[in-house]
């Protein structure tokens, strides 16, 4: 079971930066890292583990699947990730109906780690956009059963509000479609969702590179969840380092409050005192 120890990194500049922010809470559990990472699509289990460690993430997502009884691959994630080191967030990826998502969530909880679930009900194969009606239905069922539901959803304010109403502990609008790497396509809606919800808002899916993660965090959201941006980078470990810094940079920039932008130049040096 995840023990939630403070990070014992030797990276003092990262520690200093995080000290300017502070922890945050999802469903009553404290997290320091605002980066949540997936465990899918890595070329090897070793690269996955190295990348996740480099990312500094505490919460990692996992999927629920049939055991491969032919033992053709070593798929069991718990053979590679120590559940004492990471908070496991099981997802319902691949589910297209509320009933299926509820079934997968119950199976995940029976594994015995925690009550959290990343609820994902897909409505369309090409875009992997969420079926928000089915998501709401499943979210209500699961919240009523005591699950701590973190719901993947569209960047739609009304759905986000409804998901909060039915008891989700976090609402997770997409930046852009899953695995697309297009970055935040609608920062205005993301900001509005964050402004209107009381529960944490985690942007889930669509981040492609470090600048996308930074821009996402600059919108004021509580965190960002990504998988493909790390797993599909040429060098996943190096990209994970970059993302760790980008998330902290974007968060601190948001907290610091950016300067006003202007379409005309404003000199930085005094205009008085120039020589004749």
């Amino acid at each position: 079971m995840w023990v939630g120890v403070e990070m014992t990194s030797t990276d003092t500049s990262m520690d200093d930066a995080r000290a300017l922010d502070g922890p945050f809470y999802i469903g009553g559990t404290k997290f320091v890292s605002r980066l949540i990472v997936g465990t899918g699509k890595y070329e090897s289990n070793q690269i996955m583990v190295d990348a996740i460690r480099a990312s500094g993430a505490e919460m990692v997502t996992v999927a629920v699947r049939r055991v491969d009884l032919d033992r053709s691959k070593d798929e069991a994630i718990l053979h590679h990730l120590d559940p004492q080191d990471f908070f496991l967030l099981a997802n319902t990826a691949g589910c297209y109906t509320a009933d299926d998502a509820v079934r997968y969530a119950r199976l995940a909880r029976a594994a015995g780690f925690n009550e959290f679930v990343k609820l994902e009900v897909i409505g369309d194969e090409r875009t992997l956009l969420p079926d928000v009606h089915a998501t709401l239905e499943a979210a209500k069922t699961l919240a009523d059963e005591g699950f701590k539901v973190m719901a993947y959803t569209n960047d739609d304010l009304i759905t986000a509000l409804r998901l909060e109403d039915v008891g989700c502990v976090a609402v997770m609008p997409l930046a852009s479609p899953i695995g697309s790497g297009l970055g935040v396509v609608n920062p205005y809606f993301i900001r509005e969702i964050k402004a209107r919800l009381k529960v944490p808002v985690i942007v889930d899916a669509g981040v492609g590179t470090a600048s996308d993660a930074c821009v996402t965090m600059e919108q004021g959201v509580d965190g960002v969840l990504m998988n493909t941006a790390l797993a599909a980078a040429d060098d996943p470990v190096r990209m994970s380092h970059a993302m760790k810094h980008a998330v902290v940079a974007g968060r601190l920039a948001y907290l610091a409050g950016r300067m006003p932008s202007s379409e005309i130049a404003v000199p930085s040096s005094p205009i008085e005192g120039m020589l004749d």
Binding site: G38, V67, L69, A90, N91, L107, A108, A111
Partner: protein, 72 residues
């Protein structure tokens, strides 16, 4: 071995034959699976691990054995 000493079950979507008399515990042992690493669904009901010893596997049971794999 006479036919009635074996049972057919649907295991992870495949029809499979096992010797009769298995409990969930002995079935997992036969499959070399650690009970703490899998979740067992029997005929669409999730089983509590403490009941594995008591539950008999019978003809035509539908069993799903699931675990955590990489995912986003």
């Amino acid at each position: 071995m006479t036919p009635d000493t074996r049972i057919d079950i649907q295991l992870n979507g495949k029809r499979q034959s096992f010797g009769a008399g298995h409990t969930v515990t002995t079935l997992l042992e036969a499959l070399e699976l650690h009970p703490g690493m899998v979740v067992v669904e029997l005929n669409r009901e999730i089983l509590d691990r403490e009941n594995y010893d008591a539950i008999k596997v019978v003809q035509d049971d539908m069993i799903e054995l699931v675990h955590f794999v990489g995912g986003g």
